[in-house]
């Protein structure tokens, strides 16, 4: 563009601008490379990738979509945390507060909920496509293992989040699920060959009590907002790193 104003030229020539934007934007080979190489976020990509990696019929784009949904969950989740107190007295009231009083509160909660459901669905589809294209075969075996770990973490995230609204739906769904945990062999009080009573078993450890109460809510909350997301992010970093190193699978 020729008719740039003097002001624009001055800005682009200034030390401040140059310290932030390290290269030009003209469509040149060099800039296309620098655009990726000199940006910490875009640097997750290689500078070039093979043609077939662009084909949606091959990739289904499900891994990327899952990651994007995770970001949606982080953002909507952070906003929800402003309005939520993890106590049995307050939690449900906060749900009503979100529904009736908080501006855009219901959209916020809806988005968090639906993106979570969608995320599990897209992970499963991602796993299916990675299986069907044999992309877990050498040298990518370990990244499949990381992927299964991420699936488990996502399921645990959904599971812990499910209790937080503290309504009948969450209370009884978590009751069903934690009763199953109490049926673990050896370490659950209702399981076969049980060694422990209901006050010392694995279910007690998870709930922080023999019943679902304020301790359980707090434990699920802390797992949901800190422990599991951070663990997930660490595994995601490894997952993406290994995709970057091994490249997308292609026929030999």
């Amino acid at each position: 563009m020729e008719n740039k104003s003097a002001l624009w030229r001055w800005i682009k020539g200034s030390r401040v601008y140059k310290s932030i934007f390290r290269h030009g934007y003209e469509d040149t080979k060099k800039n296309r490379i620098l655009q990726i190489r000199s940006n910490v976020f875009l640097h997750i990509h290689p500078v070039k990738i093979p043609d077939h990696a662009y084909r949606i019929r091959f990739t289904w784009c499900m891994g990327g979509i899952t990651f994007f949904l995770f970001l949606v969950e982080v953002m909507t989740g952070a906003f929800l945390m402003f309005y939520y107190t993890p106590t049995p007295e307050q939690a449900y009231r906060d749900m009503l507060y979100l529904r009736y009083d908080v501006p855009f509160g219901m959209i916020l909660r809806n988005m968090h909920r639906w993106a979570a459901h969608l995320m599990i669905f897209t992970i499963i589809l991602h796993m299916l496509r990675v299986f069907l294209t044999g992309s877990y075969k050498p040298p990518r075996e370990f990244n499949w293992v990381i992927g299964v770990t991420l699936l488990v973490i996502t399921l645990l995230l959904s599971f812990t989040g499910y209790l937080l609204p503290w309504d009948q739906l969450s209370y009884w769904a978590i009751t069903v699920a934690t009763n199953m945990i109490g049926a673990m062999p050896f370490i659950g009080h209702e399981g076969p060959l049980s060694l422990l009573d209901r006050y010392h078993d694995i279910r007690f450890l998870i709930l922080g009590g023999s019943e679902i109460g304020s301790n359980a809510l707090l434990r699920f909350y802390v797992m949901h907002i800190i422990v599991l997301p951070v663990t997930g992010m660490i595994f995601m970093a490894v997952h993406f790193w290994r995709v970057r190193k091994d490249g997308i699978s292609r026929p030999l």
Binding site: M111, G134, Q168, L169, G247
Partner: protein, 232 residues
């Protein structure tokens, strides 16, 4: 190797980044519209004294909940998910077929694709039944049936005596282990003894699930094996 081959590559800027950006925009719009149209469920405040009937797990766990009809909780809720996850983790190390990387193929990977798809479908079928076809007291209701119509008490169930159960299970496992090796020599040779035993153990356990379901539905069998400590 993917990275030695420089033929037919494209710059990721802007080609890929644009696709990612547009996907993100489209997804944001979809989620916004979805969130505007459908409210996340919220029932009455949690009440430990009054249980929901039926109280269903979220859809992705409903498959396991459906299995509770046929298995004791320690199998449906603990052993089966544990075995599924461990098996998934082991897939890349068990599958020693070098063919079919980076493209969709059935002919080059018949064994792997067939059994994975069957297991994958079972998961979804169980979810479908649990989510859409179960009503109060986890009774079976067709979509057009009203939940108001009370379903009769469960049919009379029986379990074979322990010796029959043990014989049946041992016969199933032995035949399941030996027959494929005889019928499909190539498969056995490709896997080798150790890998073959692990793969077949996983598959025999997987197929035991629909077998048990059918035994229950057709012959009203409650447990295949009854012992003092646990029932299968």
């Amino acid at each position: 190797m993917a990275y030695q081959d420089h033929s037919k590559k494209r710059y990721t800027w802007p080609d890929l980044v644009v696709i990612e950006f547009l996907t993100a925009v489209a997804l944001t719009i979809i989620l916004l519209v979805w969130a505007l149209l459908v409210n996340a469920p919220l029932l009455e405040v949690a009440n430990p004294g009054m249980s929901e009937n039926p109280s269903k797990a979220p859809w992705y766990f409903v498959g396991l909940q459906e299995l509770l009809v046929y298995f004791d909780p320690w199998i449906a809720g603990v052993m089966i998910p544990f075995i599924i996850i461990v098996s998934l983790v082991m897939i890349p190390y068990l599958d020693n077929n070098p063919r079919g990387i980076g493209h969709y193929t059935y002919s080059q990977r018949r064994f792997a694709v067939t059994h994975f798809i069957i297991g994958f479908s079972m998961w979804w079928i169980l979810i479908g039944i649990g989510y859409f076809l179960r009503g109060p007291n986890w009774q079976f209701y067709w979509p057009w049936e009203s939940w108001g119509a009370v379903k009769g008490v469960e049919e009379h169930l029986w379990s074979p005596p322990p010796w029959a159960g043990v014989t049946g299970l041992i016969a199933y496992l032995t035949l399941g282990m030996i027959l494929p090796a005889i019928i499909q020599r190539g498969l056995y040779r490709r896997f080798g003894t150790f890998r073959y035993i692990i793969v077949m153990s996983i598959l025999l356990m997987m197929y035991l699930v629909p077998i048990k379901i059918l035994l229950r539905l057709l012959f009203h069998i409650r447990y295949i094996l009854v012992t003092r400590w646990f029932n299968i």
